[in-house]
Symmetry: C2
Subunit: 499 residues, 2 copies
């Protein structure tokens, strides 16, 4: 697509910026005719007035011009008179003389610029009735009444200290409440002063990358794996090496081979893993592998980053001890988030730190943001303390179990042999491998599905080296059983319609 | 003091940790007698039960032991049996074999570990009736009713998108509201898509340091100046060079000399300044200096970071155009915070970015935290939109003006020639140079003042190279005129009591 909406500001502003960028980048040449407003609105699934407003701004600024009766065109001067487009194209780099020099970090993060923003997908896509996006908050389940009560209480009871800078590890009451909750629910035992409250997994991963990874150091990560970890490690300048995953989770023997390839012992500084429900494939790391992994980390002097992103939702089998509990927490940094069990806009998560890392992480956090907003922290502490949080977790687990059962039954009924479902014994998503769809044909299937109200998402972005199969990550946390049933039924009809 | 409370968790836990750290660090030797609970409680100004509880935990874990009738002692084995204390003292470094290797960044942030935490001062000190701490929120002024209404509205009106991941530049409604506010109040004109909402100045400075500063690059900063900027630049590995400040603000000629010393043109990547009210000395950067500074930045290809931390509060003189407005915003990153005009626990601030830096900063923010919590952003947008915010600013300005007048009159009456007051034409603090107090005697004055209920703060921490004079930073935003009057009167009596 020549035009990309970036999800920032109003839709018409996005159209304005998208077209302007297309001109700057040369995707729309000077003199080229731009699509009619009606056609573009249809393609983008936005109102026509949105496109008209965007075009008007572009006309006002001289990027576009109208020719009577002929339509709207890129101005003859627009593409060449701007500094960005004036870069010598033969160099293959875009030179913007106005941009101050960036650090190596600044250049590295810019490399992600081709990647579409999640928020763009969230804010610009029309709502689909059967949207299997993973990570959409399960708003129907949320304990909104209890949450509003806790927020209200936190506001009314606020002393002067509640308005001031807070404890940099995070609100003490929240850390006490989380430490007790983690001990009860996940067997993770830690003193509250080893808990660092962060604004979500991403801040936790970024702090870990900054404190632990030198540019050039090696970090291992599951393949396929969590993109947020890969991005944070890369931004720190680390060499990120993928370790394959099989039915038992991360393959520790392959990790040894990767470490040897990376220069042998002593070179691997960190290893990122999702042992309780491998993200996204869903395998549970076996106990033997857990032991081997800790042994690997000990020999390499590497830190294990254990992301227990959906540890609350386990439906089958006996829960295994976390790596943190197995290890005693000296070699393992345990990472949790409230984004799945409550909602992403809360922006709260936590790190359980090895004793020796508390001080460096605390100091890094003081540099990074000086601490988090107080209101949500105090309200969440209250939500946990009054019991509403764990009631919510229990209820959510029952609802997610029902959604999962519905999904699996519907898949068996409507998809049959056309798919292979994996990773269903925990979490809020499954992976469906498509037997009869070529990877190259997946994009079209996703578009066709969207036209039928079904939101589908390829597994390929989770891979560094995509596999030769087409696969979907099906999130079901935000859908009613009825929507799941209908969505899967429609997907089955769609799949049968293709040879 | 051998024992430091770190402000984390309950007071008894802090006593526990403080004593344990003193043992580990060798400040309390094995076999040494620890202070009686009553004496330590008095020294720390905490309840005796707090110290007893801390000691009990230390006794339970074997760090301390009691000898019948003789008191409490550090256990014979405690100081040597722990890994931290087992490090060869001759090396002068504390070796903890359990700690995984840190990155260079991790080691750099650890260097700040000797510095006491602000939060420790906030949470552990008994409340003083005449506390002149700068930065304490003016809770008496806060529009708490309007704020609670806006929070409540944001909660009730939340759609599913408000619970999901938000726009990474910050909530669009907030950016629109802030852009309009900045244009109206500060003459800073920017499109909302050049505004990046951050969690406060600190996150803004950290993002700037990461994106702009290579390890080894030079960053200039006012001397004396804002420690948060110095810390962020140092953590990025930059060489931080102080530029002296005089009555016209930052000395641009001295900046040239510093740049030449740093290796000449092209080496200076960033310059941090507080032109509207130099922090902490309070000078207003003259127009001639503003022009010279922008010229300097152009010649060096350096980014100017303009921190307008208390730009809302100006009491005398015509406001000068911001550097951002003078420059057009291509060379200037404008930084603002809501911590002073509302309160620090809100954790909201903003960057106005040069066009060419929007994308790198946006990508850096996605790596750093993926975005901020939604609730406060939506509520603040509403507070601005409904007019409550600017009513609050106007009211606050009038109240702060009254506080300033009270302070200046009280100082003239009670302190007379004993002090020289500077920087009083804007902001929420003044600097009082003490004519008759030696720098070495200031600590005792501060302690004596605390015993009389007066909270005083030295200016020395703002300096890289402290001056030969004793000076105080007197914040007055959180005090009533009566408290200011009494506090200054008592300070006068205290100063006259010393020869």
């Amino acid at each position: 697509m020549w035009l990309v909406l970036d999800g920032e500001g109003s839709l018409s502003r996005q159209v304005y910026r998208g077209v302007r960028e297309a001109i700057r980048a040369g995707r729309l040449a000077a003199g080229a005719r731009v699509p009619a407003t009606r056609a573009l609105a249809r393609d983008l699934r936005v109102a026509r007035i949105t496109v008209i407003q965007g075009y008007e701004q572009l006309l006002a600024e001289g990027w576009l011009e109208t020719r009577r009766g002929a339509g709207t065109f890129v101005s003859a001067g627009a593409a060449v008179e701007r500094p960005a487009a004036a870069a010598p194209p033969s160099l293959g780099v875009r030179v913007s003389p106005a941009r101050p020099r960036l650090s190596a970090f600044g250049e590295r993060v810019l490399e992600t610029r081709g990647r579409p923003l999640l928020s763009a997908a969230i804010s610009t896509r029309p709502t689909l009735p059967y949207d299997f996006r993973y990570g959409t908050p399960a708003i129907l389940d949320l304990p909104t009444t209890a949450w509003q009560r806790c927020i209200g209480r936190a506001l009314r009871r606020a002393s002067v200290r509640a308005y001031d800078y807070g404890a940099p590890l995070g609100n003490p009451a929240l850390r006490e409440a989380l430490a007790e909750y983690l001990a009860r629910s996940r067997g993770v035992r830690c003193a509250p002063e080893r808990l660092l409250v962060v604004s979500g997994s991403q801040q936790g991963l970024d702090l870990a990358a900054r404190v632990m990874l030198e540019p050039g150091a090696t970090a291992l990560i599951e393949e396929p794996g969590y993109e947020g970890a890969r991005t944070a490690f890369r931004a720190a300048g680390a060499r990120v090496v993928g370790v394959p995953v099989d039915a038992e989770g991360l393959d520790v023997v392959a990790a040894e081979a990767a470490a040897a390839g990376a220069g042998g012992l002593g070179d691997v500084r960190a290893l990122f893993t999702t042992p309780s429900h491998q993200y996204p494939l869903g395998a549970v790391l076996s106990l033997a592998r857990r032991r081997a992994l800790l042994d690997f980390a000990t020999r390499h002097g590497a830190l294990v980053i254990e992301d227990d992103y959906d540890g609350e939702f386990r439906f089958e089998g006996k829960p295994l001890e976390t790596l943190h509990a197995l290890d005693g927490g000296e070699r393992v940094l345990y990472l949790g988030t409230l984004s799945k069990v409550l909602f992403p806009a809360l922006r709260l998560g936590y790190l359980v730190l090895p004793d020796a890392l508390v001080e460096p992480f605390l100091r890094a956090r003081l540099v990074a943001d000086g601490g988090l907003a107080m209101l949500e922290q105090v309200a969440l502490a209250e939500l946990i303390r009054e019991g509403s949080f764990e009631r919510h977790v229990r209820r959510s687990r029952a609802r997610h179990l029902e959604r999962r059962e519905t999904l699996l039954a519907a898949a068996a009924r409507h998809l049959g042999d056309a798919v292979e479902i994996v990773g269903s014994n925990a979490g809020l998503h499954v992976v469906a491998w498509l037997r009869d769809v070529e990877p190259a044909a997946l994009r079209r299937l996703i578009d066709d599905a969207a036209a039928r109200g079904i939101g589908l998402y390829s597994i390929h972005p989770y891979y560094e080296t995509p596999p030769p199969r087409a696969g979907l990550v099906l999130g079901y946390a935000a859908l009613t059983p009825e929507a799941i049933e209908t969505g899967i039924e429609r997907l089955g009809a769609l799949l049968r319609g293709r040879p």
